[in-house]
């Protein structure tokens, strides 16, 4: 069992008994069997001494209980790490960065506080998953759609705070957030936006309130614990067409991206479209984490017969005639740019039956599914870059990455591309890990560090990064000798002087632990 840094067993036992008083005996976990459930099984550090092991996990059921947990952590200077559902696999799962941290598991706070059909929003607690919300909407028979990541069990709050990617009309998850309640390190409870008016009538309808807009400070951050969040939903469209464009040449990705850009910018393609290689497009053909099916990364160990072509997945929503006109126009644009392009699509209309849809259509319709689970048999780690939305830039990326992968005995044929933030490309490179062979994981670490460093030099930085690479990834945001990181640290030291909240999150360390930076 590990201890929080600087604490004796006796001090920690006292802290644990105070945690138990706060949340109840059943909700403080310390035995190995329970701690093992808070381990990241996708970590490149798995099976090594370097992987941080939590000293305990504490699961409050209310803001009041959480405030006591924070008070105790401040009293004993215990580093905490907050998770909502702790399914951040590929980016660190439920794990922390400091050995001996206490995990604050918010899954028990799982109430849907409000579900509003007229104004299309929900107000949720951290433990509510996309799937929980989707089920509740169906149970009530509301004509609303959700959006979110493919893992159905993911927390709306966790995923939105990580600025995750969905697939429908609100796929840029951070942009669909409206209003939050935050508990600060000192236990103060704050509401943002219109919610700062205690009589607020539009907390979930207008984001900004008056004065500086602070919600962003709590995403991908260690400045507070978010306990409530407003999330926008999509009024059910009368018609929906789920569509795919296929190109057969590997280099066809260049005109494919350049054709997508103006369509996405002008909102003719209004959803968070994606593209990926067409190889292993069917789950049955997937080969471990390198198979490249579904949303998984496409790392090829060399079993590919030739270089793959590509497939873009699009969605069209709204009144029937508009849906059809947009899809026809999109086909015309592709046919003139890439004469060999082929098309496939399926039309659906309200009332929708999820059982009639394949996974790709479900995702674009915000129906949670988790087809990819099996690809990740041995886990994998993600490198996720943001880059300019042009075919030439992406081609440069592909050549650069494939070159680096080859140095480590692998190939990179292109992972899924996300167009959720409509004016940039987000690229996903997956690196397979092994649950038994540490040499594989060391090699994966070295490759990822190289990918991040070389990308930084090219002007690409990550939109989100696994725990182990957080310091590396923040390093590439270096303008004016890391002025941005200094700003983050100033806020951190002011708002959390004991440095108890998620130290090291995205490379931001509190004064007390700053020498931990890699």
């Amino acid at each position: 069992m590990s201890l929080p840094p600087g604490l004796s067993q006796g001090q920690f036992d006292n802290a644990l008994s105070e945690f138990r008083t706060a949340v109840g005996n059943d909700w403080v976990f310390t035995i190995d069997e329970h701690i093992a459930m808070y381990k990241d099984y996708f970590s490149p550090l798995q099976n090594t001494e370097a992987q941080p092991i939590p000293s305990a996990a504490v699961a409050p059921d209310s803001v009041e209980e959480l405030k006591v947990v924070l008070r105790v952590a401040n009293d004993y200077q215990i580093p905490l790490w907050t998770i909502s559902t702790g399914k951040n696999y590929g980016y660190g799962g439920p794990d922390s960065r400091v050995n001996g941290s206490v995990i604050v598991d918010l899954k028990r706070m799982n109430r849907i506080l409000e579900l509003n059909e007229e104004h299309a929003y929900a107000l949720v607690e951290p433990g509510v998953s996309t799937y929980d919300l989707w089920r509740e909407i169906r149970r009530r028979g509301y004509r609303l759609w959700t959006d979110g990541p493919s893992p159905a069990y993911a927390s709306i709050i966790g995923n939105t705070l990580e600025r995750g990617a969905g697939y429908g009309l609100l796929g840029e998850r951070a942009a669909a957030q409206c209003g939050m309640e935050v508990v600060l390190a000192n236990g103060d409870v704050m509401r943002t936006g219109m919610g700062a008016n205690s009589n607020a009538e539009t907390w979930q309808q207008y984001k900004y309130g008056l004065g500086p807009y602070v919600d962003g400070m709590f995403s991908q951050s260690n400045l507070g614990i978010v306990t409530k969040m407003g999330i926008w939903l999509i009024p059910e469209p009368p018609a929906f067409r789920s569509a795919e464009v296929y190109v057969s040449g590997h280099e066809d990705i260049i005109p494919m991206i350049d054709t997508l850009r103006p369509l996405r910018l002008s909102n003719v393609i209004a959803n968070s479209a994606t593209a990926s290689t067409n190889q292993g497009g069917h789950i049955e053909g997937a080969q471990g984490p390198g198979g490249g099916a579904g949303g998984g990364p496409n790392v090829d160990g060399g079993h590919a017969p030739g270089l793959p072509g590509w497939r873009a997945r699009l969605g069209f929503y709204g009144y029937d005639r508009v849906v059809e006109a947009n899809w026809e126009q999109v086909q015309d644009e592709f046919a003139s740019a890439i004469p060999s392009a082929t098309f496939h699509s399926s039309r659906f209309a309200a009332p929708y039956n999820p059982d009639e849809m394949l996974t790709e259509s479900k995702l674009a319709a915000g129906i949670p599914s988790f087809q990819e689970a099996p690809i990740w048999n041995h886990g994998g780690t993600f490198v996720s870059m943001v880059m300019p939305f042009t075919g030439a830039d992406y081609w440069d990326f592909l050549q650069t990455y494939d070159g680096l992968y080859q140095e480590y005995g692998m190939r990179y044929m292109g992972g899924p591309l996300h167009f959720h933030a409509p004016r940039s490309l987000m690229t996903l490179a997956g690196v397979p890990l092994s649950s038994t062979d540490n040499a594989v994981n060391e090699r994966a670490m070295a490759l990822c560090e190289n990918l991040i460093r070389v990308s930084g030099e090219k002007g690409w930085s990550e939109y989100r990064t696994p725990l182990v690479f957080m310091d590396n990834a923040m390093e590439s945001f270096d303008f004016n000798d890391h002025a941005l990181r200094r700003f983050h640290e100033t806020l951190k030291d002011t708002l959390d002087p004991n440095g108890i909240l998620s130290p090291g999150k995205n490379g931001v360390w509190p004064q007390r632990l700053r020498e931990e930076r890699a």
Binding site: W27, F29, E33, H34, A36, M37, Y38, K39, Y41, A59, T85, G86, K87, Y89, G93, D105, K107, R108, G127, Y131, D132, R135, A152, Y153, I283, D355, L358, T359, K362, P368, S369, F370, Q371, E372, A373, P374, W376, N377, H378, S435
Partner: protein, 113 residues
């Protein structure tokens, strides 16, 4: 033997439960937990991660859909749920608590011979 384990499990549940719920009620509760926390990976349709993998593992020799199985033992289920297995990360006590897991197990073993 299985029947016996089931009966023992049931009596533990029944004793611990304040209202002495009927076995059918607990099984129904277990089904509700299954629908909320397992079905999207293990239900019918070849697009669900668990069903895909179990189909690959068993072919036609066993049902790929978890709730159609009649050979799962309580301790086996408990172990799979709480520990990491390839394709299925641990389901924590905050997601499915001990009482819910007992009910879930009763549901998944309801048709065992």
């Amino acid at each position: 033997m299985r029947k016996l384990i089931l009966k023992m499990l049931f009596s533990v549940l029944a004793l611990s439960s304040f209202n002495l719920l009927a076995q059918e009620d607990i099984t129904a509760q277990g089904e509700e937990v299954y629908m909320a926390r397992c079905e999207y990976c293990h239900g019918e349709g070849l697009q669900k991660g668990g069903t895909i993998m179990l189909h690959r593992r068993y072919g036609d020799s066993k049902p790929a859909v978890l709730h159609q199985r009649t050979d799962l033992l309580p301790e086996y289920i408990r172990n799979i749920v709480r520990t990491n297995t390839p394709g299925m990360t641990p389901v924590r006590i905050t997601e499915v608590n001990e009482k819910e897991l007992d009910a879930l197990i009763l549901f998944l073993t309801r048709n065992n011979p």
